[in-house]
Structures are given as structure tokens and as C-alpha cells.
């Protein structure tokens, strides 16, 4: 049996009567970047904090490279970037990163200095003088410079400008190439779309789905915009949401395109445009589907 970098088994966390995370199962392997999507209060941060051992599970378990979350060997392999970075205000950025590196036990000094430059962070400023974005950079640099095997990132780019987001993406790509496992919780779907081959969606503490982005796309389907004179295609295998437009038709296709293309070949089509669903559309689609079943 292969060892997952991150594994959650029936992970559950209840705060009083509220189940913030409910029977969540999730794995992330080495060299993989998994996006973790969900609306506000869906349970993303709680899940990550359970995986870090900052919260104690009500039931189930989370492991890091086979070690129980929060245990000493697990902590050695983990680095964390919170969405709202809180550090000691009197420390400078360099001191804070030095402290976190010392506590972790490893710090790639050259890479840290390189990240200072890439993120354009002035490390001699005190934490209290940093903007939210700069505090976020401190946490990102501290986490990536440890070269930890597992990175748990909770809204890491909140507060970063687009240029810095790009630098962050480069860091993630490099970390992935080094074989580090990354669980990336984010509201920024374009960021997740760029970086993650697999995404997990959580809603009201329940895992809605976890799958490859391509599989999710095929589930949501391909959007067709047809210009020309076509008949009613709603009966064709895989076609849904068929509507006539002023100059043709619009439809959604789920499944293999063969039957539809065969029918279209017999019709007078002047142009055909297809578009894959964006992650945002996939996200909304899954959320809409999950809503009635999950709403108490």
C-alpha cells in the first residue's frame, strides 16, 4: 500500500452541535497539488487545522506521511501558511522567518534569500509595520524556505497583488517539481485552475467531490454554440440545455461528442464554437447540485 503525503479518513470535527467537518476522506500524494474549494464557512480552514493538529478531531484521523497529524514526526514534514497571518509584532520579517525556520528544524537559507527578492519583501521591517499582503509574504517565505515535504496553504495569496500571485504560483510549481505535496485552499479559482490537477470541494463540512479537473469538466460538459440552420438536437445522446438562438442554437454536451457530431454533419452548420467549463462554473455547478441534498 502506497503512503499518502496527506490522508484524512472519516475526519470529523464538531463544535457543539455544529459539524464543521463531517466524515471527510481525502488524500494528497507526493508531487501533487490539490485544490481545496468551498464557500466561506464550508470547513476548509477547519480541515487544514485538523491536518496540522491545531484542532483535535471529534472522530476519524488525519495523517501526514503516515504519522498522526500534530505528532512530532508529522510536524517535521509540514509547513503551513495561514490565511490571516499573526506573528509577534515586534519581530522583523527576517527574525520571524528565522524563528519559524529554527522551530521547524530546517531552512534553506539561499532559497529564503531568493524568495525575499522574488517577493520584494523588505525583511528588516517589523511585523507590525507590514501590510496584510506583506505579512502573507512572510508566512509564504517561511513555509517554502523550509522545503517541507507537505505544504498546507490556507488562502495563501489573500492580500497579494497579481504580480506576487504569479511569483507564488512559480513557487508552487517548483515545489511540486521537487516532489512536495501541496493542499491549496483558495477562493481564487483561476489560481487553483492553473496549479492543481485535482480539486476537492467541500460544502457545509461535507466533501462534495474530489476529482481531476478534466474529469470534472467532462462531468459538467462542453458548451456548444452553433451558427446555422439546425433542427431540435435535444434528443441526441449527451445533449442537455438545448436552446435555439437567433442565428442557430446553444447546447451543453456531456459525454463523447460522436453522436452529436454525426447529427450535425447532416445539418447546415456555418460555424461551430466549443468552450470548456471554467473551474468557477464547475464549482457553481457542484455547489448547486449539492445544495438541496446537504441543506438541513
Amino acid at each position: 500500500m502506497s503512503l499518502h503525503a496527506i490522508e484524512a479518513k472519516e475526519l470529523t470535527k464538531a463544535f457543539g452541535h455544529v459539524r464543521a467537518v463531517d466524515s471527510l476522506n481525502l488524500t494528497v500524494d507526493a508531487g501533487e497539488v490539490v485544490g481545496f474549494l468551498g464557500s466561506n464557512g464550508a470547513g476548509k480552514s477547519t480541515t487544514l487545522r485538523l491536518m496540522l493538529g491545531l484542532l483535535q478531531p471529534t472522530s476519524g484521523e488525519a495523517t501526514i506521511l503516515g504519522h498522526p497529524a500534530g505528532s512530532p514526526p508529522a510536524r517535521q514534514h509540514v509547513a503551513y501558511v495561514p490565511g490571516d497571518v499573526a506573528l509577534w509584532p515586534q519581530l522583523t520579517g527576517r527574525e520571524a522567518i528565522g524563528l519559524l525556520g529554527s522551530l521547524h528544524g530546517s531552512m534553506d537559507g539561499d532559497y529564503r534569500d531568493q524568495l525575499f527578492e522574488q517577493f520584494e519583501l523588505d525583511p528588516e521591517k517589523r511585523i507590525r509595520a507590514y501590510s496584510k499582503g506583506n505579512r502573507q509574504k512572510v508566512a509564504i517565505i517561511a513555509a517554502f524556505a523550509t522545503r517541507a515535504d507537505v505544504l498546507l496553504l490556507d488562502e495563501p495569496t489573500s492580500g497579494l497583488d497579481p504580480l506576487m500571485e504569479r511569483v507564488f504560483r512559480d513557487c508552487v510549481v517548483e515545489a511540486q517539481a521537487r516532489g512536495q505535496a501541496i493542499l491549496l485552499s483558495s477562493h481564487m479559482l483561476t489560481e487553483v485552475e492553473h496549479l492543481c490537477a485535482r480539486v476537492a470541494m467541500i460544502r457545509l463540512g461535507h466533501l462534495v467531490t474530489i476529482a481531476d479537473v478534466q474529469d470534472l469538466r467532462s462531468h459538467v460538459g462542453l458548451e456548444f454554440e452553433i451558427v446555422g440552420s439546425v433542427g431540435d438536437l435535444s434528443g441526441v445522446a449527451g445533449v442537455s440545455d438545448f436552446t435555439f438562438t437567433g442565428d442557430g442554437a446553444h447546447l451543453q454536451l456531456i459525454g463523447p461528442p460522436g453522436p452529436l457530431l454525426a447529427v450535425l454533419a447532416t445539418q447546415h452548420v456555418t460555424s461551430l464554437r466549443t468552450r470548456e467549463a471554467s473551474l468557477e462554473e464547475i464549482f457553481l455547478s457542484y455547489y448547486d447540485q449539492a445544495a438541496p441534498a446537504s441543506t438541513p
Partner: protein, 528 residues
């Protein structure tokens, strides 16, 4: 977001309410207990004849100038007035830094300041709440005193003094918050200012020639008010005008500066000093260093002054047998010798040292509440190592400050002309911190149980336990009640031998309770 003045008002009250309730409760308890002490000491008849003797400089420095102690209220005002005033001033000053500088530090003030009425109204609301808090202290004091003292005017003046002192403390906190950041530094500066004012009052009362110094201290103003003596009501103005002017100045400074920044602040840039950042052990020490320095300054100054009074007190006692009899009735007979006096001073220091221990340990809780533990504990140190680091830094820091304090007492004693072996006050201070293991153990448990209110609840517990030990024996309280206070077991070292058995038992209890706290902390949800 539009926040009305009323909502700012209630929000601020919510922030200060728990500590206000605790301080008000302490006021009631202290007053009632000392009224009982008054009657157990023979009441007015038993004390009036020796009032003149209480004007000894050393006694005056400790408690203020004694006047006619013909009512329970007069006795309470003399015996505890200065310390009640000190508690009220510290409470108000710390609340002022919390609701102004603290709110700016965590950016919650931004919402208030950007509301429809703006930052000026927000600060005005805060000032009103602090004023109401001070007023509440006065009302509580007045009503409690009135129960046993049929002298409404005197009770009213004394209560007004307590209110005024609270207003002055709040004003100090307000102005310091405008010029010093972050909150921790502002609180330290505020405490130093209040502490220095208390020391100035002590110096003023220790010698007739230094009496003019009373005018420089808010605590001196309380004495000048003469609430149970001459009713010098003009001094009421001192409790109204200066704090009002300082509050206005604070308001003006706030209008003219950037929100989130103090007027005088350390540079935002600094070269990295990596010393003590290599482990949680080093960092625990570094985090507590400035707090230790602030407490050291206060306690060393107090030790020097109180030590300097030794010779005067001992000489006075030798020449006044009636005074010795009075001290015996009040339970202070041991202080008629230099060793006894030093032992009593060290016992008094126990309370301050205990509060320092709490301040150092409760940083754990505030770091947790602020979310600062998330990153270190997620990808680094274990929880128990972090807590142990805090305990070790607190324990060694406390021992160091205590020894420093012992040294300062010795320097004061020697400077007063009394010869004393250095190890006497050092040993006395070591004995004074012997309750620390128990306090640490209970504090660790409380931090996991009520982390948001850890300091308030622990400080109340320590204050009540201290009062039990101090006044319980005089009031002949049941032995079982007295046994519940760890301070009850403390002996007046070096005049008496330490109670080793009790120290060991208390330490073991602290160890067990602390282990319970450890266990809870290791399984607690952090940051919530």
C-alpha cells in the same frame, strides 16, 4: 459600516466589564475585611491613643499619613486607601491602553474610526466609558464604606478620591496609548508611570521635608484630600481638571496622527537580532524580556525605598513600647526588628511577584487567542515544549527579578544605616517566590480553561488568597479557610525559618495541577 456612538459605548463596556467586576469585588472584600480588622483591634478606643505613633516615617511611607482612626472608614482609608487607589489606577490605566492602543493594534479600531461619527467620537465614547468605570469604583467604595461608617461626607470624599485616581490612571493610559506602541509597550510605560507616582508618594510621606512631593503624585493628592481628616475638598479639582485636560490632549493627539501608529514609535525597521530565536526556549525568554525589565525597575525601586526605611522604623520601635503593643494587636509585631521588617517587606513583595508570574505566563493565552501560535506549533515545536519553555522562562525570570529585588532591599537597608547580611533579604525573596510553582501550575490550568479571561480570573484568585493569608489570622477566620491560601504558609524569612514542608506540599500540588493543565493544553483546540 456605520457604528453609532451608542454601539461604541456598549462595545467598550463589554471589553472592560469582566475586570471592572473583579476590581469592584476586590474593593468590597478589602473594605469589609479591614473594617472587621478595625473592630478586632479594639475599634476607635483601641487605636485613637496610638495614632500619633503611626505617624512614624516608615509606617507613613507604607500606608500614608495616619489621622484620627475613630471610625472603621477612617481606618480602612488609612490602612488600605493607598493600595485600593493603586489597584484602581492600574486597572483604569490598563483598560485605557487595552481599548485604545490594543484596539488600534488589532485594527478593530478601524471600523469604529471609519464609522459615520469618525475617530473623534469613537475616542470620546471610550473616554466616557472609562469615566463611568471610575465612577462605578467610587460608588462601590462609597456604598460599602457607608455600611459601617456613619459619616457620609468623609465616605463620599474618599470614594471621590478612588474615582479620581481611576480617572487619572485612565488619563495616563489614554495619553500613553497615543504616543507609545504597541499595546504591550504602552501598558508597560503606563505601569511604570503609575508605579513611579506611588513611589513619589512613599518618599513624600517618609520625611517631613519631602512632603511637597505629594503634589507631584496622584496618590499624594488622595492624601491631601484628607477624606477622613480635614476635608480639603479643593483637592477634588485635582482629580477632575488634570485628567480632563490629559484626556483632551489625548483626543487632540489622536486627531493629528495616523491611525494605527503612535506619535512616538520605535523605527519600523531594525537589523535582525537573531539571538534567542534558535529555539522555543530562547524565544520564550526573549518574548518576556521587556516585561521582566519593566517589573524589575518597579520592584527594585520599591525595594530600595522600603529598605531605606528600615533604620527609622526599627529605631522608632525601640523607643516606643506602646507602638510595639499596637503592632502586636495588628499582627505586625515581628517588624520591630530589621530582620522582621525585611521579612514583612518580602512577604508584601510576594503579591507583586505573583502578579508578575501571571503576567509572564498569560502571554501564552494571549498568543493563542491572537493566533500567533498557529505557525510555530503547526510546523515546528510541540505544544508541551512551548508551554514548558514559557514556564522555564517565567520561573527563572521570576527568580532573577526576586534576587534583584532582594539585593535592592539590602542596598536600601545598608544605606539607611542598619547593617544586615546580604543573604537575609535574598533568602527572604527566595522564600517569597516559593509559592510560584503552585501559581504556575494553577495558571497553566486556567490558561487552558478560560484563556480569554485567564489574567483577570487568576489575578482575582491570587488577590483573594493573599488577603486570606494577610488578614485571616487577625480576624480569627476558621483554620480550614486559611489553609486554602498558599500565602498562609509563607513565613517571614529571614526573621523566621521557612516552612519547608508546606513549600514542598504546595509545589507538589502545583505540579499535579500543572500536569492537568498540560494534559488539557495538549488536547485543546488552538486559536479558538
Amino acid at each position: 459600516m456605520i457604528l453609532s456612538k451608542r454601539s461604541t459605548h456598549s462595545l467598550t463596556w463589554r471589553q472592560i466589564l469582566p475586570s471592572t467586576a473583579v476590581i469592584a469585588l476586590v474593593l468590597v472584600i478589602v473594605i469589609r475585611v479591614n473594617e472587621a480588622a478595625f473592630y478586632s483591634s479594639g475599634g476607635a478606643q483601641g487605636l485613637t491613643s496610638v495614632v500619633a505613633l503611626l505617624k512614624n516615617p516608615a509606617i507613613s511611607a507604607l500606608y500614608g499619613k495616619a489621622a484620627s482612626l475613630d471610625t472603621a472608614g477612617a481606618f480602612v482609608a488609612w490602612k488600605t486607601g493607598m493600595y485600593l487607589a493603586l489597584a484602581a489606577a492600574i486597572w483604569a490605566a490598563l483598560m485605557a491602553t487595552r481599548v485604545t492602543r490594543g484596539a488600534e493594534d488589532d485594527e478593530s479600531w478601524d471600523l469604529l474610526a471609519t464609522g459615520r461619527r469618525g475617530r473623534g467620537h469613537a475616542l470620546a465614547s471610550v473616554i466616557v466609558v472609562l469615566g463611568e468605570g471610575g465612577l462605578l469604583m467610587g460608588v462601590v467604595t462609597f456604598l460599602t464604606l457607608l455600611l459601617k461608617t456613619p459619616d457620609p461626607l468623609s465616605c463620599f470624599l474618599f470614594a471621590l478620591g478612588i474615582t479620581g485616581i481611576a480617572w487619572c490612571g485612565a488619563a495616563i493610559g489614554l495619553i500613553v496609548s497615543q504616543v507609545v506602541a504597541p499595546r504591550r509597550s504602552a501598558s508597560q510605560v503606563t505601569l511604570i508611570v503609575v508605579g513611579l507616582m506611588f513611589l513619589v508618594r512613599m518618599i513624600a510621606d517618609s520625611s517631613n521635608s519631602a512632603g511637597w512631593l505629594r503634589g507631584l503624585s496622584i496618590f499624594g493628592w488622595l492624601e491631601n484630600l484628607g477624606s477622613f481628616q480635614r476635608h480639603d475638598a479643593w483637592w477634588c479639582l485635582a482629580f477632575v481638571v488634570p485628567p480632563a485636560l490629559v484626556a483632551i490632549a489625548a483626543w487632540k493627539v489622536q486627531q493629528d496622527r495616523d491611525l494605527g501608529c503612535a506619535r512616538w514609535t520605535r523605527s519600523d525597521r531594525a537589523p535582525a537580532r537573531t539571538a534567542l530565536l534558535g529555539s522555543s526556549w530562547g524565544f520564550a525568554w526573549r518574548e518576556r524580556r521587556s516585561t521582566l525589565i519593566a517589573w524589575s525597575v518597579g520592584l527594585v525601586a520599591f525595594g530600595l525605598i522600603i529598605g531605606y526605611l528600615t533604620n527609622a522604623l526599627v529605631a522608632f520601635c525601640r523607643s516606643n513600647p506602646a507602638y510595639v503593643r499596637l503592632l502586636d494587636r495588628l499582627g505586625f509585631a515581628v517588624i520591630i526588628t530589621a530582620k522582621g521588617f525585611v521579612g514583612e517587606v518580602c512577604f508584601t513583595m510576594t503579591l507583586a511577584v505573583s502578579f508578575m508570574v501571571l503576567a509572564l505566563l498569560v502571554m501564552l493565552a494571549s498568543d493563542d487567542v491572537q493566533g500567533r501560535l498557529d505557525m510555530p506549533l503547526a510546523n515546528g515545536t510541540g505544544r508541551l515544549t512551548w508551554v514548558l519553555s514559557a514556564i522555564v522562562a517565567t520561573s527563572f525570570g521570576t527568580l532573577f527579578v526576586s534576587l534583584l529585588c532582594g539585593l535592592s532591599i539590602w542596598v536600601g537597608v545598608e544605606a539607611s544605616g542598619t547593617s544586615m547580611k546580604l543573604w537575609y533579604p535574598l533568602f527572604g525573596m527566595v522564600n517569597a517566590v516559593s509559592a510560584t510553582p503552585l501559581i504556575v501550575g494553577v495558571a497553566v490550568l486556567f490558561i487552558t480553561l478560560v484563556k480569554r479571561f485567564a489574567y483577570v480570573s487568576l489575578a482575582a484568585l491570587v488577590a483573594i488568597a493573599y488577603l486570606l493569608a494577610l488578614l485571616g489570622p487577625i480576624l480569627h477566620w476558621p483554620h480550614a479557610v486559611l489553609l486554602s491560601s498558599p500565602f498562609y504558609y509563607l513565613r517571614l524569612v529571614p526573621a523566621q525559618a521557612p516552612n519547608w514542608g508546606a513549600i514542598v506540599v504546595c509545589s507538589c500540588i502545583g505540579l499535579v495541577v500543572g500536569a492537568g493543565g498540560f494534559y488539557r493544553f495538549s488536547r485543546a483546540d488552538l486559536g479558538s
